[in-house]
């Protein structure tokens, strides 16, 4: 996403609008980035409210639209949103697990002007060892892949990698080749929300990463232009932070299922910002004026070592949410940075990941489902595994 809009950070236009149209999902991915307390979020926006969001954001200059979730296809009005988005001039991306993508629906999406479908490969089974041998999953993917081709969409597949599946990289690549994937994103889990709860189970070892990357490079070389492959390493293995969201409030506007407007998927958890809801305010005010969106614009909020760092114009001090989750203060340097006094939080987690064995059994893995979310809603604040500040 950062790549998508690089070069436009100075325009201050929310070029990328992400509509998380529902938090409902038939899957229970242990690395989901939806808030762990989604179960207590308010009622979903109605169709009319979503159409109003699309119109107002387009006036602000939004042009790339992501329709995501949860599983967006849990709503039966995505077709209406797609058609309105096309009329308004958006480039519309549907981010789906493929569950619920019938021929009837894909035909309506094509007719309405949907531009691309990004299919994600979820691990829907609780039997993680069966992850890739799950016939049900494979049949679903094959069926959906066939529909995507039949309706002349580019075949874009996203696979989230983690400690428990990364050693199957060859099988994943073989499957992608068999499905005729043209763009393959192999994204290692980022440790937010559910993935932070499960971080120790999900983080690959350095050896696992290197092996996976080497196999991916062989695949790249063999496939050439037939398949473009992106391999994203976890930022915990970097020593400088990512330029999160291309800078806070510069490019990215996220509207959650309940109408909360956010500068990123994860910002809901940051304390004291009272992010506005599109039911109460128009997007122009939200984007330009609201205190939440202005909180971390520019560099006035920065502390050392960011404040005097020449890299601050490149990485904006990294991710505010990661700084908050790990250090308890969103204005701290993202601890991924080795200049951060809290960098030890990262290196400790990475050191634990080097432990031999397929699974670090420190605690039971937490599936993203309503029961767990209700339990976590009661805890209210920080994810339980976040290290103390």
């Amino acid at each position: 996403m950062a790549e998508a809009t690089s070069g436009s950070s100075r325009t201050g236009i929310p070029l990328w609008l992400n509509a998380e149209v529902t938090f409902r999902c038939p899957l229970h991915c242990v690395y989901c980035y939806n808030p762990v307390d989604y179960a207590r979020s308010g009622p979903e926006l109605t169709t009319e409210e979503w159409l109003r969001v699309l119109r107002q954001a387009r006036e602000l200059g939004s042009v790339q639209l992501g329709i995501s979730g949860g599983e967006p296809l849990m709503r039966d009005d995505v077709e209406i949103m797609v058609a309105e988005a096309r009329r308004l001039g958006y480039y519309t991306n549907l981010l789906t697990s493929g569950v619920g993508l019938t021929e009837k629906r894909i035909a309506a999406f094509k007719e309405g002007g949907l531009d691309q479908i990004q299919l994600s490969f979820q691990d829907s089974t609780r039997e993680l060892n069966d992850f890739l041998s799950s016939t049900r999953t494979f049949e679903l993917k094959s069926k959906v892949a066939k529909l995507i081709k039949q309706y002349d969409y580019p075949m874009v597949l996203n696979v989230v990698l983690h400690r428990l599946n990364i050693d199957h990289i060859q099988a994943i690549l073989d499957m992608a080749e068999q499905m005729g994937v043209e763009h393959l994103e192999l994204a290692n889990t980022q440790y937010y929300a559910w993935a932070l709860l499960n971080r120790d189970q999900l983080m690959p070892s350095r050896e696992q990463l290197e092996r996976a990357e080497a196999i991916t490079n062989q695949f790249r070389a063999r496939m050439g232009n037939r398949c473009k492959v992106y391999f994203v390493v976890p930022d915990y293995y970097a020593n400088r932070p990512k330029a999160c969201m291309n800078g806070w409030g510069t490019t990215f506007l996220n509207i959650a299922a309940d109408g909360m407007a956010l500068p990123c998927h994860e910002a809901r958890q940051l304390p004291g910002l009272n992010f506005p809801n599109v039911r109460d305010h128009d997007l122009g005010w939200i984007w330009n004026e609201s205190p939440g969106f202005n909180a971390y614009r520019g560099d006035g909020w920065m502390k050392e070592p960011c404040r005097s760092c020449p890299d601050k114009v490149k990485d904006f001090g990294g991710c505010r949410c990661q700084a908050y989750m790990l250090t308890g203060d969103a204005t701290n340097t993202d601890p991924v940075c080795d200049l951060s006094p809290n960098h030890g939080l990262i290196t400790d987690a990475v050191a634990r990941a080097q432990t031999a064995g397929p699974l670090v059994k420190v605690q039971p893995i937490v599936f993203r489902d309503d029961k767990n979310s209700r339990r976590l809603s009661e805890k209210k604040t920080q994810p339980e595994t976040a290290p103390a500040r």
């Binding site: 996403m1 790549e3 998508a4 236009i13 200059g61 042009v63 790339q64 480039y91 691309q116 990004q118």
Partner: protein
């Protein structure tokens, strides 16, 4: 994406996932593609505007020479289209 080289007779079109349009807020023509956009500067926009699946590379050059008389554009247009082809924005029909 075709690996064949462009020739003056090649009829060119945008790759199917690309869309060319004017963006009022950016005051620029853009190419949109999955999860991204490229902002086109003046001459680039004039060239890409003519990549319509009907015109050949030669047609595009002649058309531009009519629109901007007195300038020898041939090599610049060829280079630009080569680059666009290499990046996968356009394909040979």
């Amino acid at each position: 994406m075709s690996d064949a080289a462009l020739s003056p007779e090649s009829v060119v079109a945008l790759e199917r996932q690309y869309r060319f349009q004017w963006e009022e807020k950016l005051q620029a023509f853009v190419l949109l593609y999955p999860e991204g956009l490229v902002r086109l500067e003046g001459s680039g926009a004039e060239i890409i505007k003519r990549v319509d699946g009907q015109r050949s590379v030669d047609d595009i050059i002649q058309d531009l020479e009519r629109a901007f008389p007195g300038v020898d554009l041939r090599q610049d247009v060829l280079d630009y289209l080569e680059k666009a082809h290499g990046r996968g924005y356009i394909r040979i029909k």
